[in-house]
């Protein structure tokens, strides 16, 4: 159909008042904008709350153990069975599982010089892939006199801020700790005496880490061999605040950093609020679609006499339906395109403001935004086409 023909057909239809046209377009604009804004709010919140680690492009490490209860006290230390470890490997968010193997023999350390102290130490080993930054020479073989150890950062903090001031001892930097010579004694009878040195620090595990080969040797030599127990596990997880992950831990009675649980609860609440906003926006979008359809139906109804005459003159229903739909297309497209532009602008503004706080939000809305826009546009068009089809049979 030529442009002139379209104009002539348009001329036969009853014109809508300018106010009515503007009102219909405005309602559609508001509905679409609210829908898109709610999608943006949801995706942005999800991005910020769930993306704590993703933002740095790395996973999180979580140490879990079994809850110590009144009933379990006095028994053998609770440990994870092979089946439990296998199940945890398939838990939500879990990417990798490593056993924290404790020493089943006593380890006694002595420090000479100005520090002059002696203490029993909690020593454990984890698979190398779970260590924050693996030291260059992280190995030990029977016969070696030197043993590399990794000190928990928290141990150093406790020493520097709690222990040293009370004992009038000097505070130590990480570099100076690396220079401290430790005399380490493993086992009671025929103890193995080694010279240990701090090869690195760990933020993940609150134990003194040693190479796995040392623990295996010591457990065998000083604790009578047997199966190593696993009292704690270290998990590499995608998102430690994920609700499903925390629910899994709670259901199985595993303990972990309570911060994760609090974060998870907060995220659940915020997501619930965002979802509720989304439902409200969806309702508004539905109402605005309905209003726009009623506007279209009213337009067709007002032009019914002209449409009947056009059909009598030889215009088919299909041609007229197309002409009517094309009449609404620019108005609907303009309103919805304006919504997209406004919401994209708002996203850029929010990303800028959030960026100043050191957090990252994408400037361009995610696929959910575009999917919602495409779906709502398609739905509006289908409903409109259906309404026009019913009006012009």
């Amino acid at each position: 159909m030529t442009e002139a023909a379209k104009n002539i057909i348009a001329g036969t239809l009853q014109p809508n008042g300018r106010r009515r046209v503007v009102a219909a377009a405005a309602v559609l604009f508001v509905g679409t904008t609210l829908l898109l804004l709610s999608i943006l709010a949801w995706t942005d919140l999800t991005h910020m709350l769930g993306g704590r680690q993703e933002q740095q492009g790395q996973s999180s490490y979580v140490v879990i153990g079994k809850q110590v209860t009144e009933q379990s006290m006095g028994r053998e230390p609770a440990s994870f069975s092979a089946q439990e470890i296998k199940d945890i490997a398939h838990a939500p968010q879990v990417q990798d599982v490593g056993a924290i193997v404790p020493a089943r023999f006593p380890v006694y350390a002595t420090i000479g010089g100005r520090l002059a102290m002696a203490t029993d130490l909690p020593v454990a080993a984890v698979p190398d892939r779970f260590i924050d930054s693996l030291p260059d020479r992280w190995n030990w073989q029977p016969g070696d006199r030197a043993l590399p150890v990794i000190l928990s950062s928290q141990f150093l903090d406790i020493y520097n801020y709690v222990f040293a001031p009370g004992q009038r001892l000097p505070q130590l930097s990480r570099t100076s700790v690396r220079a401290v010579a430790l005399r380490l004694q493993a086992g009671h009878e025929n103890p193995l005496v080694l010279s240990a040195y701090v090869a690195g620090f760990s933020d993940r595990i609150n134990s003194l880490l040693v190479p796995m080969s040392f623990i295996e040797y010591g457990n065998d030599a000083f604790a009578g061999g047997g199966q190593n127990t696993t009292s704690q596990l270290i998990l590499r997880v995608n998102d430690p605040s994920d609700g499903a992950f925390n629910t899994y831990l709670q259901q199985h009675g595993y303990t972990t950093d309570p911060q994760n649980l609090r974060w998870s609860r907060m995220r659940t609440i915020v997501q619930a609020v965002a979802s509720a906003t989304g439902v409200f926006a969806l309702l508004l979008m539905g109402i605005s679609t309905l209003v726009f359809m009623l506007f279209a139906e009213l337009t067709v109804a007002r032009s019914q006499a002209s449409l009947v005459l056009l059909r009598q003159l030889g215009y088919s229903a299909a041609v007229l339906r197309r002409a009517i739909l094309m009449r609404f297309l620019p108005m609907a497209a303009t309103a919805m395109a304006l919504s997209v532009v406004v919401c994209c602008g708002i996203q850029v503004g929010i990303a800028h403001i959030i960026g100043e706080s050191g957090l990252h939000l994408p400037m361009v809305p995610g696929w959910q935004y575009w999917a919602a826009f495409a779906t709502s546009s398609l739905l509006l068009w289908l409903l409109l086409a259906r309404a026009v089809r019913r009006a012009i049979r």
């Binding site: 005459l309 003159l313 215009y315 088919s316 299909a318």
Partner: protein, 213 residues
């Protein structure tokens, strides 16, 4: 195109027609072409017949055929196409779009299918004395002027049959003669048939057949 009427009786005229002789209602009638005059007094169903022939009304007994095709059983797209290319009509009540100009009312048909150039149409409007009104909204034209616009609108499209329902009822003698001459010229050019329905006998065209309702 052959128009065939097989025992057509409009539902609303059934009782009245029971005791009234007619050349059309309830008869087997085949129109091959040429000029046909349908004469009847008011209320005898002239407009009903024209609407049935044009495929607008289906509330009747019997069947109508355009060649082998029954308009009442034809899909919308085909029926619309045939109305744009094979059968044209001047409605008794004219049925113009009041908001459109005289020219736009004619262009409504030209955009569908046209057998006349814009130049032809302007000449026709000149012949009928409505050229100067071509940009005036139809609502502002006199009934006689509107009748002439409706005639030109019916002539611009290609057709095999032209249906005229009291087409000159509001024209004075001079304008009527111009309109008759124009219609005759175009029908002859198209080698089409025409059916004219009117109240009284007339000799507007050299009719090959006269039917009384």
């Amino acid at each position: 195109m052959q128009l065939s009427l097989h025992h057509i009786v409009p539902h609303h005229l059934r009782e009245r027609l029971a005791n009234q002789p007619s050349d059309v209602w309830g008869k087997e009638l085949v129109l091959q072409g040429g000029a046909v005059f349908v004469q009847a007094p008011s209320g005898a169903g002239k407009t009903t017949l024209m609407h049935i022939l044009y495929g607008l009304r289906t509330d009747h007994d019997g069947t109508l055929q355009w060649d082998a095709l029954q308009p009442s059983k034809t899909d919308d797209a085909t029926l619309s196409r045939l109305r744009a290319t094979d059968v044209s009509i001047v409605f008794q009540d004219l049925r113009l779009f009041p908001a459109l100009t005289a020219w736009e009312n004619i262009a409504v048909k030209m955009h569908l299918a046209t057998a006349a150039t814009e130049q032809d149409v302007l000449q026709w409007m000149q012949r009928l004395g409505i050229y100067h009104k071509k940009d005036a909204p139809a609502a502002t034209l006199s009934y006689g002027e509107q009748q002439r616009v409706a005639i030109v609108r019916a002539l611009v499209q290609p057709f095999k049959w032209l249906l005229l329902d009291e087409p000159f009822s509001h024209l004075d003698s001079a304008n009527r003669q111009q309109a008759i001459a124009l219609v005759a010229d175009v029908v002859r050019q198209r080698n089409a048939g025409m059916i004219l329905a009117d109240l009284d006998e007339n000799n507007y065209f050299p009719y090959q057949q006269t039917l009384r309702l």
